[in-house]
Amino acid sequence: MAGSMLEVRDLRIHFQTDDGLVRAVDGVSFSLDRGRTLGIVGESGSGKSVTSMGIMGLHQGTKAEITGEIRLDGEDLVTADPGRVRELRGSKMAMIFQDPLSSMHPYYTVGDQIIEAYRIHNDVRKKVARQHAIDLLGRVGIPQPAVRVDDYPHQFSGGMRQRAMIAMALSCDPELLIADEPTTALDVTVQAQILDLISDLQSEFGSAVIIITHDLGVVAELADDILVMYAGRVAEYGSAADIFGRPDHPYTWGLLASMPRMDRDRTTRLVPIPGTPPSLIRVPSGCPFHPRCRYTHLTGGRCDTEVPQLHEAVTPGHAAACHLTAEERARQWAALSAGKVADDASEPVSQGPVSQGPVSQGSVSQGKVEA
C-alpha cells in the first residue's frame, strides 16, 4: 500500500509522567487512501485517541515524545515544523470529537465557530464565510440553517451539535477526517443518523475517514479497514470483511463475543472479556493481552516472554499479533463461531467469572454485523 494518502509507520507516542513512562502508543502502523474509511477499535486506554491526536499534531506543547512516521501525502508530520502542521490542521485534516457540547465553545454562536474555522485557512470576507457556514449547516441537515447559524451551542440538540461539529470540520474540505467516538455521547436513534451523514459526506467529498470507536457496530457499518488496538499496540489489522468474517486474534474474538448481535439467538449470553485493560505504565511483558487471554497454555509459554509481531497468517493484508499458530487459531475460531466457548481452555484470570452462555445452535452467520 505504498503511496497512500496517509501512511503511519511505527508510531510511538510516550508520555513522561511522575509515575513512569506511559507508552500510550507503541509501534502502530497503518495506511489509508482517499475515499476509504479506517475504523480504529479498542477499549478505553488502548491508545486510539492518542493516535488520532498524534496525527493531528495535537500533542504539541505537551510532554509527549513522538517517534516514527506520519506521512500525509508524503509529508512527514512528526518532524515537520509545528507551524506547518497547524496550517494543515483544520484545512487538510480535520477532527470531530466525542462530546459535541463540551467540544464547542459555549460563548460563541455555532456560525461564528464555523466561520472562524473557515477563515483561518481561507482569506475571505466575513460575509462570504457566513454564507459558507449557512451552506454547510444546510448540508449536514440542520433545518433553517440561515436562522440557526446565529444560535449558541446550548440551543442545539445533541445530534444537531454533532452535525454542526461535522460542518465545522468540513468547512475547509479536508482530505482526512478523523472522527473520535463521534456517536458515543449521542442518543441511539441519533447515532445512526450521524453515521449515515458521515458516510454520505465521505462519498460526496471523497475524503479519507478514520473512525475511532469502541463500538464494533459503528465500524461494521462504515469501515473498509479495521485496526484493532490493545494497550497501545496493534492486535489485528485488516479489511472489515476479513475481521468480521474471520477474526484472527483472541482479543478480537472477545470483542465480538461481548457485543449483541441481531443474527444470534436472543438467549445467547454476551461474554465479557475477563479482567481490565492494563496500565500503560506497566504493560505486561510479552503479549500485552496475555493476562486476559484464554489460550496462553497453547503456545508453550511464549506469551508472557515474547512480544508477538504482526504477521499475515490467513489472507494478504490481514495481520494479527498472536503466538498461536494459524491452524490453532482457525480451529479455535471455528469452535467459537459455532457458538462454543473454548471449554478446554483453562481460566487464566481469577477476576470476573466468564459466563459460558447456553449454546445456541443454528444460524450463526459470519457475515457483517448489523448494528
Partner: protein, 335 residues
Amino acid sequence: MIFFIIRRLFMTVFLLILVSMITFAIFFLVPRLAGQSAYQLAAQYVGRNPIPSEIKAVEAKLGLNAPLYLQYGRYLKGIVFGIHYNNGTDVSYCPFPCFGYSFRNQQPVWPQLISDAPVTLSLAIGASVLWLIGGVSIGVLSALRRGSIFDRFSMGVALAGVSLPVFFTGLIALELFSYKWPIFPNVHYVPLTTNPLLWARNLVLPWVTLAFLYAALYARLTRAGMLETMGEDYIRTARAKGLPERQVVVKHGLRAALTPIVTIFGLDLGLLLGGAILTETTFSLPGLGQFTILAIQNQDLPEIMGVVMIASFFIVIANMIVDILYAVIDPRVRF
C-alpha cells in the same frame, strides 16, 4: 434581555430600600429600644452644654418624637425628594438627596459626601485598572508556563501580596519612594480638574499599593481559571481548527476564564467605591474612607447612615452591572 435588565433594576431598587430600612433601624430603632429618648437623641445635634430649649427645638424640627415609621418615611422622602424642616418659627429646606444634618457641623451630609467622593473614585478606578491588567496578565502567563520559574516567582509574590495589609505595604512604599528616594514626594490629593499631572503623580503610590493587594488575588484567580479552561474540550477543538496558539489562549481560553473574574471585579470595585478606608488613611487621602472614620469617631449618626447608604448603593449597583455583564458574556445566562 430587556426584561432581564428591567427585572434586575427592580431588584436593585428593592434592595436599596431594604438596606435603608436596616440602616435606619440600627441607628434609630435600636437606641430607642435600649431606652434612649428623643430628647437625648436631639441633644446630640446641639453640641456641648446645650440649653434645654434648643434641644426641644431640634427635637421638634427633626420630628424625633414622631412614631418611627413616620420618621423612616420622612428619611426616605428626604433622600428621594428633599424635605422641609419646620419647627413653627424656623423653616429650612434640605434639598434632594437629603441624608440629614451632621452632628458635628450642622451641615447637610450629602454635599460633604459628594465633595469626598472624587478622591475615592480616583483611587479606586485607577487602582482597579492597574490590578485588572496586571493580575490577569500575570495569571495567564503563569498558567501557560505552569511550573516555570516565572510561575513560581509570581505566585510567591502573589501570596505575599494577598497576605500583607495595605498599611504595611503602603508605609513601606511611602518610606522608600517618598522619603528615601523622593520620586513621589509629598503625597497629597490634588483634584483632577486642578492639575491632572499632579493628580496622577500623587496617586501613583496609593494606586500601586492598593493594586498590589488585589492584583495578587486576581493573578491567582486567573491562573486557576486558565488552567481549568485550557483543559476544556473546546480548547482542543480550537487547536484542531488550526488556530494560532495565541488566539486559542486569548479568544477561547481567556474569554471563558474571565467570567468569574468579572463577577469578583464588580464586587471589589463597588466595595472600594464606598471608601478604601485603609489606603486612604495610610496616604492621608480625604475620601469617603476618611469620612467614614471621622463619622464613626464622632458617633455622627446621620453621617454614618449617609456613608452606609452610599456604600451599599455602589455595591448594589456594581452587583447589577455584573449580572447584566454576565448575561452579555455568557449567552447561556440570557433569558
